[in-house]
Protein backbone atom coordinates (compact mmCIF):
# COMPACT_ATOMS: atom_id res chain seq x y z
CA UNK A 1 0.00 0.00 0.00
CA UNK A 2 2.85 2.34 0.84
CA UNK A 3 4.31 1.57 -2.59
CA UNK A 4 1.03 2.49 -4.28
CA UNK A 5 0.91 5.68 -2.26
CA UNK A 6 4.43 6.56 -3.45
CA UNK A 7 3.46 6.03 -7.06
CA UNK A 8 0.30 8.09 -6.62
CA UNK A 9 2.30 10.92 -5.10
CA UNK A 10 4.74 10.95 -8.00
CA UNK A 11 1.89 10.67 -10.50
CA UNK A 12 0.15 13.68 -8.99
CA UNK A 13 3.30 15.81 -9.29
CA UNK A 14 3.82 14.68 -12.87
CA UNK A 15 0.25 15.36 -13.90
CA UNK A 16 0.25 18.88 -12.43
CA UNK A 17 3.60 19.69 -14.00
CA UNK A 18 2.34 18.39 -17.33
CA UNK A 19 -0.66 20.70 -16.91
CA UNK A 20 1.57 23.79 -16.76
CA UNK A 21 3.62 22.54 -19.68
CA UNK A 22 0.69 21.68 -21.94
CA UNK A 23 -1.19 24.89 -21.33
CA UNK A 24 1.81 27.12 -21.86
CA UNK A 25 3.60 25.39 -24.71
CA UNK A 26 0.86 23.40 -26.41
CA UNK A 27 -1.94 25.91 -25.70
CA UNK A 28 -3.99 22.88 -24.70
CA UNK A 29 -7.02 22.76 -22.42
CA UNK A 30 -6.19 21.70 -18.88
CA UNK A 31 -9.48 20.49 -17.53
CA UNK A 32 -8.63 17.02 -16.24
CA UNK A 33 -5.29 17.42 -14.47
CA UNK A 34 -6.58 18.84 -11.19
CA UNK A 35 -9.11 16.07 -10.82
CA UNK A 36 -6.63 13.35 -11.74
CA UNK A 37 -4.26 14.72 -9.09
CA UNK A 38 -7.09 14.80 -6.56
CA UNK A 39 -7.85 11.13 -7.19
CA UNK A 40 -4.17 10.21 -6.80
CA UNK A 41 -3.75 12.13 -3.58
CA UNK A 42 -7.04 11.04 -2.00
CA UNK A 43 -6.06 7.48 -2.86
CA UNK A 44 -2.58 7.91 -1.39
CA UNK A 45 -4.02 9.35 1.81
CA UNK A 46 -6.52 6.57 2.46
CA UNK A 47 -4.36 3.68 1.29
CA UNK A 48 -1.45 4.76 3.49
CA UNK A 49 -3.49 5.47 6.56
CA UNK A 50 -3.27 1.88 7.86
CA UNK A 51 0.50 1.98 7.46
CA UNK A 52 0.66 5.26 9.36
CA UNK A 53 -1.48 3.75 12.12
CA UNK A 54 0.81 0.71 12.28
CA UNK A 55 3.67 2.98 13.30
CA UNK A 56 1.31 5.03 15.51
CA UNK A 57 1.84 7.98 13.22
CA UNK A 58 -1.61 9.54 13.65
CA UNK A 59 -0.73 12.10 16.30
CA UNK A 60 -2.73 12.67 19.44
CA UNK A 61 -2.40 14.89 22.49
CA UNK A 62 -0.50 12.62 24.86
CA UNK A 63 0.89 15.35 27.12
CA UNK A 64 -1.59 15.04 29.99
CA UNK A 65 -2.98 11.56 29.59
CA UNK A 66 0.37 9.79 29.67
CA UNK A 67 0.92 11.08 33.20
CA UNK A 68 -1.64 8.54 34.42
CA UNK A 69 -0.34 5.66 36.60
CA UNK A 70 0.56 2.42 34.78
CA UNK A 71 -2.62 0.38 35.00
CA UNK A 72 -4.89 3.30 34.24
CA UNK A 73 -2.70 4.27 31.33
CA UNK A 74 -2.92 0.77 29.86
CA UNK A 75 -6.69 0.91 30.21
CA UNK A 76 -6.67 4.31 28.55
CA UNK A 77 -4.78 2.88 25.61
CA UNK A 78 -7.40 0.14 25.27
CA UNK A 79 -10.19 2.73 25.30
CA UNK A 80 -8.39 4.84 22.72
CA UNK A 81 -7.83 1.90 20.38
CA UNK A 82 -11.41 0.74 20.85
CA UNK A 83 -12.70 4.18 19.95
CA UNK A 84 -10.51 4.29 16.86
CA UNK A 85 -11.62 0.82 15.76
CA UNK A 86 -15.30 1.60 16.20
CA UNK A 87 -15.10 4.94 14.44
CA UNK A 88 -13.05 3.70 11.50
CA UNK A 89 -15.19 0.57 11.22
CA UNK A 90 -18.29 2.71 11.03
CA UNK A 91 -16.65 4.98 8.48
CA UNK A 92 -15.53 2.00 6.37
CA UNK A 93 -19.08 0.63 6.41
CA UNK A 94 -20.56 3.98 5.32
CA UNK A 95 -17.95 4.39 2.60
CA UNK A 96 -18.92 0.99 1.27
CA UNK A 97 -22.47 2.32 0.92
CA UNK A 98 -21.18 5.40 -0.89
CA UNK A 99 -19.01 3.31 -3.20
CA UNK A 100 -21.89 0.93 -3.92
CA UNK A 101 -24.29 3.78 -4.72
CA UNK A 102 -21.81 5.47 -7.06
CA UNK A 103 -21.18 2.16 -8.81
CA UNK A 104 -24.85 1.26 -9.28
CA UNK A 105 -25.96 4.74 -10.35
CA UNK A 106 -22.90 5.26 -12.54
CA UNK A 107 -22.09 8.56 -10.80
CA UNK A 108 -19.30 10.71 -12.19
CA UNK A 109 -17.82 14.04 -11.16
CA UNK A 110 -19.55 17.01 -12.80
CA UNK A 111 -16.49 18.29 -14.67
CA UNK A 112 -15.92 18.11 -18.40
CA UNK A 113 -13.64 15.11 -17.88
CA UNK A 114 -16.32 13.39 -15.72
CA UNK A 115 -14.43 10.36 -14.39
CA UNK A 116 -16.45 7.81 -12.39
CA UNK A 117 -16.78 8.53 -8.69
CA UNK A 118 -16.49 4.89 -7.67
CA UNK A 119 -12.74 5.21 -8.11
CA UNK A 120 -12.06 7.60 -5.21
CA UNK A 121 -14.94 6.18 -3.15
CA UNK A 122 -13.56 2.68 -3.66
CA UNK A 123 -10.09 3.84 -2.59
CA UNK A 124 -11.64 5.43 0.47
CA UNK A 125 -13.48 2.22 1.32
CA UNK A 126 -10.39 0.06 0.82
CA UNK A 127 -8.20 2.39 2.88
CA UNK A 128 -10.64 2.72 5.76
CA UNK A 129 -11.20 -1.06 5.86
CA UNK A 130 -7.46 -1.70 6.09
CA UNK A 131 -7.18 0.98 8.75
CA UNK A 132 -9.96 -0.68 10.77
CA UNK A 133 -8.17 -4.03 10.56
CA UNK A 134 -4.91 -2.43 11.66
CA UNK A 135 -6.64 -0.77 14.60
CA UNK A 136 -8.34 -4.05 15.58
CA UNK A 137 -4.95 -5.78 15.67
CA UNK A 138 -3.53 -3.03 17.85
CA UNK A 139 -6.61 -3.14 20.08
CA UNK A 140 -6.03 -6.85 20.61
CA UNK A 141 -2.43 -6.12 21.56
CA UNK A 142 -3.51 -3.40 24.01
CA UNK A 143 -6.04 -5.77 25.61
CA UNK A 144 -3.33 -8.37 25.88
CA UNK A 145 -1.08 -5.93 27.73
CA UNK A 146 -3.84 -5.16 30.23
CA UNK A 147 -4.48 -8.86 30.82
CA UNK A 148 -0.76 -9.54 31.35
CA UNK A 149 -0.43 -6.48 33.60
CA UNK A 150 -3.26 -7.89 35.73
CA UNK A 151 -1.50 -11.22 36.27
CA UNK A 152 1.63 -9.64 37.63
Amino acid sequence: MLGLGMLALLAASLVLTYSVFSRYFLKASTDWQDEAAVFCLVGATFLCSAYVQSIRGHVGIEALSSMLPGVLNRLRLVAVDLMGTLFCGFFAWKSWALFHEAWVEGQTTSSSWAPPLWIPYGLMFAGMSLLTLQLAVQLAASLNRVAKGGQR
Binding site: A28, S29, T30, D31, D34, Q107, S110, S112
Partner: protein, 314 residues
Protein backbone atom coordinates in the same frame (compact mmCIF):
# COMPACT_ATOMS: atom_id res chain seq x y z
CA UNK B 1 -47.78 19.44 16.83
CA UNK B 2 -44.53 21.16 17.72
CA UNK B 3 -43.15 23.66 15.19
CA UNK B 4 -40.92 22.25 12.44
CA UNK B 5 -37.59 23.94 11.82
CA UNK B 6 -36.06 23.61 8.35
CA UNK B 7 -32.41 24.13 7.45
CA UNK B 8 -31.60 25.89 4.17
CA UNK B 9 -28.01 25.60 2.98
CA UNK B 10 -26.36 27.59 0.20
CA UNK B 11 -22.89 28.64 -0.96
CA UNK B 12 -23.43 32.36 -1.52
CA UNK B 13 -22.22 35.29 0.60
CA UNK B 14 -24.22 35.99 3.72
CA UNK B 15 -26.42 39.08 3.90
CA UNK B 16 -29.76 40.08 5.41
CA UNK B 17 -33.41 40.10 4.38
CA UNK B 18 -32.94 43.37 2.51
CA UNK B 19 -29.21 43.59 1.74
CA UNK B 20 -26.69 41.47 -0.10
CA UNK B 21 -26.64 38.64 -2.61
CA UNK B 22 -30.19 38.05 -3.85
CA UNK B 23 -29.85 34.27 -3.63
CA UNK B 24 -29.20 34.60 0.11
CA UNK B 25 -32.03 37.11 0.38
CA UNK B 26 -34.38 34.74 -1.41
CA UNK B 27 -33.69 32.04 1.16
CA UNK B 28 -34.21 34.48 4.02
CA UNK B 29 -37.44 35.78 2.48
CA UNK B 30 -38.61 32.21 2.08
CA UNK B 31 -37.95 31.54 5.77
CA UNK B 32 -39.80 34.68 6.85
CA UNK B 33 -42.78 34.23 4.50
CA UNK B 34 -43.28 30.55 5.28
CA UNK B 35 -43.26 31.27 9.00
CA UNK B 36 -45.89 33.95 8.40
CA UNK B 37 -48.02 31.74 6.14
CA UNK B 38 -48.04 28.87 8.62
CA UNK B 39 -48.40 31.01 11.75
CA UNK B 40 -45.01 29.79 12.90
CA UNK B 41 -45.73 26.08 12.64
CA UNK B 42 -43.01 25.91 9.99
CA UNK B 43 -39.89 28.01 10.16
CA UNK B 44 -36.48 27.90 8.53
CA UNK B 45 -32.93 28.97 9.28
CA UNK B 46 -30.44 29.86 6.56
CA UNK B 47 -26.86 28.57 6.51
CA UNK B 48 -25.03 30.80 4.02
CA UNK B 49 -21.56 30.49 2.54
CA UNK B 50 -21.40 26.66 2.72
CA UNK B 51 -21.33 27.01 6.52
CA UNK B 52 -23.43 23.88 6.97
CA UNK B 53 -21.94 21.61 4.37
CA UNK B 54 -19.76 21.55 1.27
CA UNK B 55 -21.45 22.86 -1.85
CA UNK B 56 -21.16 19.58 -3.72
CA UNK B 57 -22.54 17.53 -0.82
CA UNK B 58 -25.82 19.50 -0.66
CA UNK B 59 -27.78 17.78 -3.42
CA UNK B 60 -26.93 14.27 -2.31
CA UNK B 61 -27.63 15.08 1.34
CA UNK B 62 -31.01 16.45 0.34
CA UNK B 63 -31.81 13.25 -1.55
CA UNK B 64 -31.03 11.25 1.58
CA UNK B 65 -33.16 13.53 3.76
CA UNK B 66 -30.12 14.77 5.71
CA UNK B 67 -30.57 18.32 4.40
CA UNK B 68 -33.99 19.98 4.24
CA UNK B 69 -33.49 22.62 1.57
CA UNK B 70 -30.87 24.18 -0.65
CA UNK B 71 -30.56 26.84 -3.31
CA UNK B 72 -27.86 25.63 -5.68
CA UNK B 73 -27.09 25.60 -9.39
CA UNK B 74 -28.85 22.44 -10.48
CA UNK B 75 -26.07 21.41 -12.84
CA UNK B 76 -23.72 20.92 -9.87
CA UNK B 77 -25.51 17.58 -9.48
CA UNK B 78 -24.63 16.70 -13.09
CA UNK B 79 -22.33 13.81 -12.15
CA UNK B 80 -24.91 12.26 -9.87
CA UNK B 81 -28.06 12.83 -11.95
CA UNK B 82 -27.00 13.42 -15.54
CA UNK B 83 -30.32 15.09 -16.49
CA UNK B 84 -29.52 18.06 -14.23
CA UNK B 85 -26.80 19.19 -16.65
CA UNK B 86 -29.60 20.82 -18.63
CA UNK B 87 -29.63 23.51 -15.93
CA UNK B 88 -26.59 25.22 -17.49
CA UNK B 89 -26.82 24.23 -21.15
CA UNK B 90 -25.30 26.97 -23.31
CA UNK B 91 -27.78 28.84 -25.54
CA UNK B 92 -30.63 26.47 -24.74
CA UNK B 93 -32.41 29.22 -22.81
CA UNK B 94 -32.01 32.57 -24.60
CA UNK B 95 -34.02 34.80 -22.24
CA UNK B 96 -35.58 35.08 -18.78
CA UNK B 97 -39.04 34.74 -20.37
CA UNK B 98 -38.13 31.37 -21.91
CA UNK B 99 -36.67 30.22 -18.59
CA UNK B 100 -39.83 31.20 -16.76
CA UNK B 101 -41.87 29.24 -19.29
CA UNK B 102 -40.16 25.99 -18.28
CA UNK B 103 -42.12 25.58 -15.06
CA UNK B 104 -45.45 24.91 -16.79
CA UNK B 105 -44.12 23.54 -20.09
CA UNK B 106 -43.37 19.90 -20.94
CA UNK B 107 -39.65 20.31 -20.19
CA UNK B 108 -40.44 21.55 -16.68
CA UNK B 109 -42.80 18.66 -16.00
CA UNK B 110 -40.17 16.17 -17.20
CA UNK B 111 -37.46 17.76 -15.09
CA UNK B 112 -39.70 17.82 -12.01
CA UNK B 113 -40.45 14.15 -12.56
CA UNK B 114 -36.76 13.25 -12.82
CA UNK B 115 -35.95 15.13 -9.62
CA UNK B 116 -38.99 13.69 -7.85
CA UNK B 117 -37.72 10.20 -8.64
CA UNK B 118 -34.39 11.17 -7.10
CA UNK B 119 -36.06 12.49 -3.96
CA UNK B 120 -36.01 16.24 -4.65
CA UNK B 121 -38.86 18.77 -4.95
CA UNK B 122 -38.42 22.08 -6.82
CA UNK B 123 -39.90 24.84 -4.66
CA UNK B 124 -38.92 28.01 -6.51
CA UNK B 125 -37.84 28.24 -10.17
CA UNK B 126 -34.94 30.66 -10.34
CA UNK B 127 -33.00 31.56 -13.48
CA UNK B 128 -29.98 33.75 -13.69
CA UNK B 129 -28.07 35.24 -16.59
CA UNK B 130 -24.33 35.66 -16.77
CA UNK B 131 -21.51 36.52 -19.10
CA UNK B 132 -17.76 36.68 -19.54
CA UNK B 133 -15.15 38.85 -17.88
CA UNK B 134 -11.81 38.89 -19.64
CA UNK B 135 -8.53 40.69 -19.43
CA UNK B 136 -6.44 40.70 -22.63
CA UNK B 137 -9.38 41.18 -25.01
CA UNK B 138 -13.13 40.84 -25.20
CA UNK B 139 -14.75 37.43 -25.56
CA UNK B 140 -17.94 38.23 -27.42
CA UNK B 141 -17.84 36.40 -30.77
CA UNK B 142 -16.90 32.72 -31.11
CA UNK B 143 -13.81 33.85 -33.10
CA UNK B 144 -12.58 35.76 -30.04
CA UNK B 145 -12.18 32.51 -28.09
CA UNK B 146 -9.18 31.29 -30.05
CA UNK B 147 -6.09 31.20 -27.86
CA UNK B 148 -7.79 32.49 -24.71
CA UNK B 149 -7.40 30.59 -21.43
CA UNK B 150 -10.98 30.48 -20.17
CA UNK B 151 -12.62 29.11 -17.05
CA UNK B 152 -16.00 27.95 -18.34
CA UNK B 153 -17.06 26.64 -14.96
CA UNK B 154 -19.16 23.75 -16.22
CA UNK B 155 -18.79 20.72 -18.46
CA UNK B 156 -21.15 22.09 -21.10
CA UNK B 157 -19.66 25.61 -21.29
CA UNK B 158 -16.19 24.06 -21.50
CA UNK B 159 -17.26 21.92 -24.46
CA UNK B 160 -18.59 24.89 -26.38
CA UNK B 161 -15.52 26.99 -25.60
CA UNK B 162 -13.11 24.25 -26.65
CA UNK B 163 -14.90 23.91 -29.97
CA UNK B 164 -14.57 27.66 -30.46
CA UNK B 165 -10.81 27.36 -29.96
CA UNK B 166 -10.29 28.38 -26.33
CA UNK B 167 -8.12 26.39 -23.94
CA UNK B 168 -10.24 25.76 -20.90
CA UNK B 169 -8.76 25.73 -17.42
CA UNK B 170 -10.14 24.36 -14.16
CA UNK B 171 -9.63 26.43 -11.06
CA UNK B 172 -11.31 26.80 -7.64
CA UNK B 173 -13.50 29.93 -7.59
CA UNK B 174 -11.48 31.62 -4.83
CA UNK B 175 -8.47 31.62 -7.19
CA UNK B 176 -10.23 33.37 -10.09
CA UNK B 177 -9.11 36.84 -9.07
CA UNK B 178 -5.47 35.85 -8.55
CA UNK B 179 -5.36 33.75 -11.71
CA UNK B 180 -6.67 36.63 -13.83
CA UNK B 181 -4.22 39.01 -12.18
CA UNK B 182 -1.18 36.82 -12.88
CA UNK B 183 -2.41 35.86 -16.34
CA UNK B 184 -2.75 32.13 -15.64
CA UNK B 185 -6.35 32.63 -16.80
CA UNK B 186 -7.59 35.17 -19.38
CA UNK B 187 -11.35 34.98 -18.98
CA UNK B 188 -14.01 33.58 -16.67
CA UNK B 189 -17.69 32.86 -17.12
CA UNK B 190 -20.14 33.21 -14.27
CA UNK B 191 -23.40 34.85 -13.23
CA UNK B 192 -23.80 38.63 -13.05
CA UNK B 193 -24.25 38.39 -9.28
CA UNK B 194 -20.99 36.49 -8.89
CA UNK B 195 -19.18 38.99 -11.12
CA UNK B 196 -20.15 41.63 -8.57
CA UNK B 197 -19.05 39.60 -5.54
CA UNK B 198 -15.77 38.39 -7.13
CA UNK B 199 -14.72 42.04 -7.55
CA UNK B 200 -12.98 41.34 -10.84
CA UNK B 201 -13.77 44.81 -12.21
CA UNK B 202 -10.32 46.21 -11.39
CA UNK B 203 -8.44 43.64 -13.44
CA UNK B 204 -10.95 42.53 -16.05
CA UNK B 205 -10.72 45.03 -18.90
CA UNK B 206 -13.75 43.61 -20.74
CA UNK B 207 -17.18 42.39 -19.71
CA UNK B 208 -19.69 40.65 -21.95
CA UNK B 209 -22.93 41.21 -20.07
CA UNK B 210 -26.02 39.09 -19.69
CA UNK B 211 -28.40 42.05 -19.82
CA UNK B 212 -29.60 41.71 -23.44
CA UNK B 213 -28.82 38.40 -25.11
CA UNK B 214 -26.64 35.67 -23.66
CA UNK B 215 -26.01 31.95 -23.99
CA UNK B 216 -25.31 31.85 -20.26
CA UNK B 217 -28.54 31.11 -18.39
CA UNK B 218 -28.35 29.02 -15.27
CA UNK B 219 -31.17 27.25 -13.47
CA UNK B 220 -30.64 27.73 -9.76
CA UNK B 221 -33.78 26.56 -7.98
CA UNK B 222 -34.70 26.52 -4.33
CA UNK B 223 -35.24 22.83 -3.64
CA UNK B 224 -36.49 20.65 -0.82
CA UNK B 225 -35.89 17.08 0.19
CA UNK B 226 -38.89 14.96 -0.84
CA UNK B 227 -38.59 12.95 2.35
CA UNK B 228 -38.83 16.12 4.43
CA UNK B 229 -41.60 17.53 2.24
CA UNK B 230 -43.69 14.38 2.68
CA UNK B 231 -43.57 14.74 6.46
CA UNK B 232 -45.17 18.20 6.37
CA UNK B 233 -48.90 18.70 6.80
CA UNK B 234 -50.95 19.51 3.69
CA UNK B 235 -51.30 23.13 4.81
CA UNK B 236 -47.54 23.41 5.33
CA UNK B 237 -46.83 21.86 1.92
CA UNK B 238 -49.17 24.37 0.30
CA UNK B 239 -47.46 27.22 2.13
CA UNK B 240 -44.02 26.02 0.96
CA UNK B 241 -45.05 25.77 -2.68
CA UNK B 242 -47.07 28.98 -2.53
CA UNK B 243 -44.25 31.04 -1.06
CA UNK B 244 -41.81 29.42 -3.46
CA UNK B 245 -43.93 30.44 -6.45
CA UNK B 246 -44.36 34.00 -5.13
CA UNK B 247 -40.59 34.42 -4.80
CA UNK B 248 -40.01 33.67 -8.48
CA UNK B 249 -41.01 37.24 -9.34
CA UNK B 250 -38.58 38.60 -6.73
CA UNK B 251 -35.80 36.41 -8.15
CA UNK B 252 -36.50 37.52 -11.72
CA UNK B 253 -36.38 41.23 -10.82
CA UNK B 254 -33.27 40.80 -8.67
CA UNK B 255 -31.43 38.77 -11.32
CA UNK B 256 -32.21 41.38 -14.00
CA UNK B 257 -31.14 44.17 -11.66
CA UNK B 258 -27.82 42.39 -11.10
CA UNK B 259 -27.29 42.07 -14.87
CA UNK B 260 -27.55 45.86 -15.11
CA UNK B 261 -25.58 46.49 -11.92
CA UNK B 262 -22.67 44.27 -13.02
CA UNK B 263 -22.44 46.23 -16.28
CA UNK B 264 -22.47 49.53 -14.37
CA UNK B 265 -19.87 48.44 -11.82
CA UNK B 266 -17.46 47.19 -14.49
CA UNK B 267 -17.98 50.22 -16.69
CA UNK B 268 -17.34 52.53 -13.74
CA UNK B 269 -14.10 50.70 -12.96
CA UNK B 270 -12.94 51.34 -16.51
CA UNK B 271 -13.75 48.05 -18.21
CA UNK B 272 -15.29 47.99 -21.67
CA UNK B 273 -18.80 46.57 -21.57
CA UNK B 274 -20.35 44.63 -24.46
CA UNK B 275 -23.94 43.50 -25.00
CA UNK B 276 -24.59 40.51 -27.20
CA UNK B 277 -26.89 40.78 -30.20
CA UNK B 278 -29.13 38.02 -31.44
CA UNK B 279 -26.95 37.13 -34.42
CA UNK B 280 -23.97 36.48 -32.14
CA UNK B 281 -26.09 34.39 -29.82
CA UNK B 282 -27.17 32.29 -32.81
CA UNK B 283 -23.53 31.70 -33.74
CA UNK B 284 -22.78 30.37 -30.26
CA UNK B 285 -25.97 28.34 -30.36
CA UNK B 286 -24.79 26.58 -33.51
CA UNK B 287 -21.57 25.57 -31.75
CA UNK B 288 -23.41 24.52 -28.60
CA UNK B 289 -25.83 22.40 -30.60
CA UNK B 290 -22.98 20.36 -32.08
CA UNK B 291 -21.06 19.98 -28.84
CA UNK B 292 -22.78 20.35 -25.47
CA UNK B 293 -26.35 19.63 -26.65
CA UNK B 294 -25.28 16.57 -28.60
CA UNK B 295 -23.20 15.25 -25.72
CA UNK B 296 -26.14 15.70 -23.39
CA UNK B 297 -28.74 14.17 -25.69
CA UNK B 298 -26.53 11.13 -26.28
CA UNK B 299 -26.30 10.36 -22.56
CA UNK B 300 -29.60 8.49 -22.23
CA UNK B 301 -33.22 8.56 -23.36
CA UNK B 302 -34.33 10.71 -20.50
CA UNK B 303 -31.75 13.39 -21.34
CA UNK B 304 -32.73 13.21 -25.02
CA UNK B 305 -36.40 13.71 -24.13
CA UNK B 306 -35.58 16.67 -21.90
CA UNK B 307 -33.49 18.30 -24.61
CA UNK B 308 -36.22 17.80 -27.19
CA UNK B 309 -38.84 19.30 -24.89
CA UNK B 310 -36.63 22.27 -24.12
CA UNK B 311 -36.04 22.97 -27.81
CA UNK B 312 -39.79 23.19 -28.36
CA UNK B 313 -39.70 26.49 -26.47
CA UNK B 314 -37.04 27.98 -28.75
Amino acid sequence: QSPTQLKISHQFPSGSLTEGDFRDRLCRKFAADVAKATNGSLSASVYPGSSLMKTNAQFSSMRKGALDMTLVPLSYAGGEVSETNIGLMPALVPSYEQGAAWKTAEVGKLLSKVLDDKGVVIVSWVWQAGGVASRPRALLQPEDAKGLKVRGGSREMDMMLKQAGASVISLPSNEIYAAMQTGAMDAAMTSSTSFISFKLEEIAKHLTTGRSHTYWFMFEPLMMSKEVFAKLTKAQQDAVMGVGAQLEKFALDAAKADDRLAAEVYAKAGAKVYDMDEATLKKWQTIARETAWKDFGDKNESCAALLKAAQKLL
